[in-house]
């Protein structure tokens, strides 16, 4: 089993429901949301790994930047709650081309923050 995607088989099934929307969906809300969310991140990261293994080196930069965005998103949203310490550190390090993805669970909203020549903007 690939180390990046090592996880409980129950979680894999739950994730397929979210990724692919198969015909038979469970009738109840997931209880293991944190594990599911973390697996979704790793799912994307593993996809990037496959791409970087196959494309030519000049493309590498592009995909690596994407990896960093996903990695940051994982750290910021760990446990389903945005930890103020982590967020502060990331905002302080918000250089050119940086991008933060935040999930505000209880408010049913998401916030995207982009670093552009030192200015912080919100979308």
């Amino acid at each position: 089993m690939d180390p990046l995607l090592a996880v409980d088989p129950g979680v894999v099934e739950l994730c397929i429901n979210h990724i692919a929307l198969p015909p038979k969906l469970p009738g109840r809300s997931d209880t293991r949301t944190d594990e599911v969310d973390d697996f979704l991140i790793r799912y994307l990261l593993r996809g990037i790994k496959s791409i970087t293994q196959l494309v030519s080196p000049d493309q590498f930069q592009l995909w690596d930047k994407l990896r960093i965005v996903i990695q940051d998103a994982r750290e910021l949203n760990r446990g389903g709650i945005i930890e103020s310490g982590r967020l502060l550190r990331q905002l302080q390090a918000l250089g050119d081309g940086k991008f933060l993805i935040l999930k505000v669970s209880e408010q049913n909203a998401g916030v995207l923050i982009r670093g552009d020549f030192g200015y912080v903007q919100q979308s």
Binding site: L5, I16, H18, R28, G47, I51, L54, G80, S84, Q107
Partner: protein
């Protein structure tokens, strides 16, 4: 941001209307107004709106699936945010068209890798589905490559050059595996059934019949073995007279007993004539109610075939009822303001051969008419739903028990007040604890260590103190307190009255309704009550009467019995101490009938018509005889 992501704000949460007040609904999603408007305005004030941000549209074909659980299944919002975030990032960095191409490639690659690694472990149905999805994605990418212009096409061309074989191989491997699986299943012993060849000619034994049952008998006949000889003993003469009379005795005794009872009541009535009833009215009322119920139970369905006997039964019951009503109205004078459930003209259908019975009937009808006049032909009966002017309210306000009832009401109010104060202090304590935990959480940080860029930091949620505090805060909840009596004053009085219902009145009510439901031709078919008043937990300590037979019940569930029973912090007192959510009406427990339409239902004609035998040439007149 940290608190916004962790705390539910009940003001923006979805609300459901229950019992006239709004309750927090956990099954619907919350309104993101806090982030959209509040945070948005804050940031706009600190900076300025930018034109550079590209606007993205995303078609969300998400589903909400709900099958018999507390909360429905929704597609992960985190997944949505990730996808929107990544496509926005790529669009901003590389421009709209190229960004989209990269984004789609990423998703296809992720799905393909997933399929490679987990494919063998999936069941064939899911694997086929996911395979098809990947194939669609790759096909769409291929399409874009051929249809797009210049740069985008070049980019996709390069990507496809490198990734194409990877995708194709994944799809092919999975497809082969599924087919192999299917083939193995088809050939397996579970599914494959051998179909033998039809023989071209019959075997020797197949041409001879087996005769498994008839063979022994035929053999015996062939050997002339005689069958059992007839028994020469004389049949013992049974005391046939006794045997038949025993059977008839059982059948007839039911009717003989009834006839005896009816004659007894008739004689008693005759001897009493118009003498004022002696003894306590209450005791009389209870005694007569018992007699009515016993007599009706005794009759059961025995008179259904015979309309004359049926009429005598009705006559007897109604005479007893008139006596009981006299005692009841003497004891509880407010009863006179309410009409009976009987109408005098409905008794006209009775078929009584004797003159003396007709006279008895006339007395009864006169009494009912007199009662009707005394209450000014009111449409209200004691069985109507609790409302202003109902019997319970009138009795509560103005009778010899008013004081007792009022003091019971005060007792309940005091109890509610005390509990409310207790809840208030409980909420204060829990809120303080919640605040304390939140400050602790804000001041601490999660423990984790760094690792390579892919596997990421290691963080053990179970050992991290901050996460533990977070879980503790999340689990804090408080139970709701529902006010024990309805807000409407007439309904509240009805509840109090019911809790301390006088015994004689209760028996009178039960017996009257038993007659009404017994002789009703149609029953209203409403849903069964969700809860009976006597079963409510909070009122158990105030119960002073037995509450059997006709009593109060609710069409709707009380708050406590639904899933709104307890609520997570943070919350306010108004959400914890809620109004009473019951919709009350009178309901008879034995027969399962709501009583409010009792007056409309009582008709006596169901069995009071002449039955013409089937073979009679006058059969055609049956319908006329019925009406």
């Amino acid at each position: 941001m940290e608190s916004a992501s962790a705390e539910q704000i009940k003001r923006f949460a979805a609300q459901a209307s229950k019992g006239g007040s709004a309750a927090f609904e956990s099954r619907e999603t919350a309104d993101p107004a806090m982030i959209m408007h509040m945070l948005g305005s804050l940031l706009e004030a600190l900076g300025s709106k930018s034109d550079k941000t590209p606007c993205l549209r995303k078609r969300v074909k998400d589903e909400v699936q709900w099958a018999n659980s507390l909360n429905p299944w929704r597609r992960s919002p985190f997944w949505l945010i990730l996808r929107v975030g990544l496509s926005t990032f790529l669009a901003q960095k590389h421009g709209g068209e190229k960004g989209r191409a990269y984004y789609k490639t990423l998703l296809a690659a992720a799905l393909a890798t997933f399929l490679r690694i987990f494919g063998p472990d999936l069941d064939p149905e899911t694997a086929a589905f996911v395979n098809a999805k990947l194939a669609r994605r790759v096909a769409k990418l291929e399409n874009e490559r051929t249809n797009a212009d210049g740069e985008v096409s070049a980019v996709l061309g390069v990507l496809f050059g490198k990734l194409g074989p990877f995708f194709l191989q994944t799809l092919e491997t999975r497809r082969k595996s599924i087919e192999e699986n299917w083939r193995a299943f088809k050939n397996s012993s579970q599914v494959k059934r051998p179909i033998g060849f039809l023989p071209k000619y019959a075997r020797d034994y197949e041409t001879k019949p087996a005769l498994t049952s008839s063979h022994p008998y035929l053999q015996a006949v062939m050997l002339w073995r005689p069958l059992r000889a007839p028994n020469p003993e004389v049949v013992q003469s049974v005391a046939s007279a006794m045997a038949t009379s025993a059977r008839f005795h059982v059948f007839a005794s039911g009717y003989f007993d009834l006839a005896r009872t009816e004659q007894h009541y008739e004689a008693r009535r005759r001897d009493q004539s118009d003498v004022q009833l002696v003894g306590s009215q209450k005791k009389n009322c209870i005694r007569l109610a018992g007699e009515i119920e016993t007599y009706l139970d005794q009759v059961r369905g025995l008179y259904n075939e015979n309309h004359e006997q049926y009429s005598i039964c009705v006559l007897t019951v109604m005479e007893l009822w008139v006596e009981m009503d006299r005692s009841a109205t003497a004891e509880y004078s407010p009863l006179l303001k309410f009409n009976t459930v009987f109408r005098p003209e409905s008794l006209d259908v009775l078929t009584l051969p004797r003159l003396v019975d007709m006279q008895r009937l006339q007395t009864i009808q006169a009494y009912i008419q007199q009662r009707d006049r005394k209450c000014n032909s009111s449409a209200q009966t004691i069985f109507d739903d609790p409302s202003p002017g109902c019997f319970a309210e009138v009795y509560f306000d103005d009778s010899k028990h008013s004081q007792k009832l009022e003091s019971l009401m005060k007792e309940i109010e005091d109890f509610a007040q005390k509990t409310r104060l207790e809840k208030e202090s409980e909420l204060k304590t829990l809120s303080a604890e919640y605040e304390k935990l939140q400050t602790q959480i804000a001041q601490s940080a999660c423990t984790y260590s760094n690792s390579d860029g892919y596997v990421g930091a290691v963080h053990d949620r179970k050992r991290c103190h901050k996460c533990y505090l977070g879980r503790k805060a999340h689990r804090l909840k408080i139970d709701l307190f529902e006010y024990p009596t309805p807000a409407d004053s007439s309904e509240a009085k009805a509840v109090i009255f019911e809790l301390q219902c006088p015994e004689a009145y209760a028996k009178y009510r039960n017996a009257t309704f038993k007659i009404a439901s017994r002789f009703a031709s149609a029953h209203n078919t409403q849903a069964a009550p969700k809860v009976l008043l006597k079963d409510l937990f909070d009122l158990q300590r105030f119960k002073r009467a037995s509450m059997e037979g006709v009593s109060l019940a609710s069409h709707s569930k009380s708050f406590i019995a639904t899933h709104y029973e307890s609520v997570r912090l943070p919350t306010t007192l108004s959400k914890v101490c809620v109004r009473n959510g019951l919709k009350l009406g009178y309901y008879e427990q034995g027969s399962g009938i709501w009583t409010k339409d009792a007056r409309l239902l009582v008709r006596f004609h169901e069995f009071c018509f002449l039955r013409i035998p089937q073979e009679s040439p006058f059969r055609g007149l049956q319908n006329m005889a019925r009406s």
